[in-house]
């Protein structure tokens, strides 16, 4: 077990940095249209997930996906930033995963550059990294055990 006393030899390893997923795309539509698709609950439901989103800072809401084995499909969120036509951010929590989603809109020639950044993936949380740990080839050796553990909670 490691504790607060860190070895200096390990300091070059950024073990405590969280990971981020970034997806960017330019859409041939104005920011106003993108903003509506991102913030109007019924529109959001058509491309992302069913939700009770309201663009008010501090509001809690949920995304609800179709439940799958081992997951009830619920994502708990709280609105962090509402900067119309420019930025929108909310927390994204499910199954012990605590991340933040940040949308950034930038007008381009005849369109909008949309950037989605989901940050806060903790590489030290084994629950987040079962797939990476086992790798695709060994995934199966571990899967049954992982499923077994999940069922015993």
């Amino acid at each position: 077990m490691t504790d607060g006393s860190m070895s200096n030899a390990l300091k070059t390893e950024p073990a405590e940095t969280t990971r981020t997923v970034v997806i960017e795309r330019v859409f041939p539509h104005p920011p106003e249209k993108l903003w509506r698709a991102l913030t109007e609950s019924p529109l959001l439901a058509q491309w992302l997930m069913n939700n009770d989103f309201v663009p008010v800072v501090g509001r809690s809401f949920q995304f609800r996906a179709e439940p799958v084995p081992q997951w009830n499909g619920v994502i708990d969120c709280e609105v962090l930033v509402v900067d119309p036509l420019r930025q929108l951010s909310y927390t994204w929590g499910t199954m012990g995963l605590g991340t933040v989603v940040l949308w950034t809109l930038t007008p381009t020639d005849g369109g909008t550059h949309l950037r989605m950044e989901q940050s806060g993936f903790d590489p030290n949380r084994p629950a987040n990294y079962n797939g990476a740990k086992y790798g695709w080839q060994r995934f199966f050796d571990g899967l049954e055990r992982v499923l077994g553990e999940g069922n015993e909670r």
Partner: protein, 108 residues
């Protein structure tokens, strides 16, 4: 015990060809049966059988366009078990595709 619910997923991915097909769909997005057949190196009926198993495990979705059937991964089916970064990368790319479609349909 709800272990039996997980078994279709387990069985579907236990086969290396199916695992390869699923992985390809996760990494490269929607593919036709033809494209998957070229990639998998087995006959098209074999690929179709594999896709049926993946579909029953709800690991892939499909849509028909003309004479072609397009398949895509449903990576959220693996959410509890796989690498979050890979999953969410695939998840958001898929959602960006849907967003593109919705934007076309919205009033200007």
């Amino acid at each position: 015990m709800n272990r039996s619910h997980a078994n279709p997923v387990f069985r579907a991915l236990a086969d290396p060809t199916r695992r390869a097909i699923f992985e390809r769909l996760t990494r490269h997005g929607e593919q036709t049966v033809h494209a998957l057949t070229r990639y998998a190196g087995v006959s098209q009926p074999a690929v179709s059988k594999h896709l049926t198993v993946l579909r029953r495990a709800r690991l892939v979705g499909h849509r028909r366009a003309g004479r072609e059937t397009h398949y895509r991964a449903r990576p959220d089916a693996l959410a509890p078990m796989a690498d979050w970064l890979t999953l969410y990368g695939a998840f958001w790319r898929d959602r960006f595709d849907r967003l593109e479609t919705i934007l076309e349909r919205m009033d200007p």
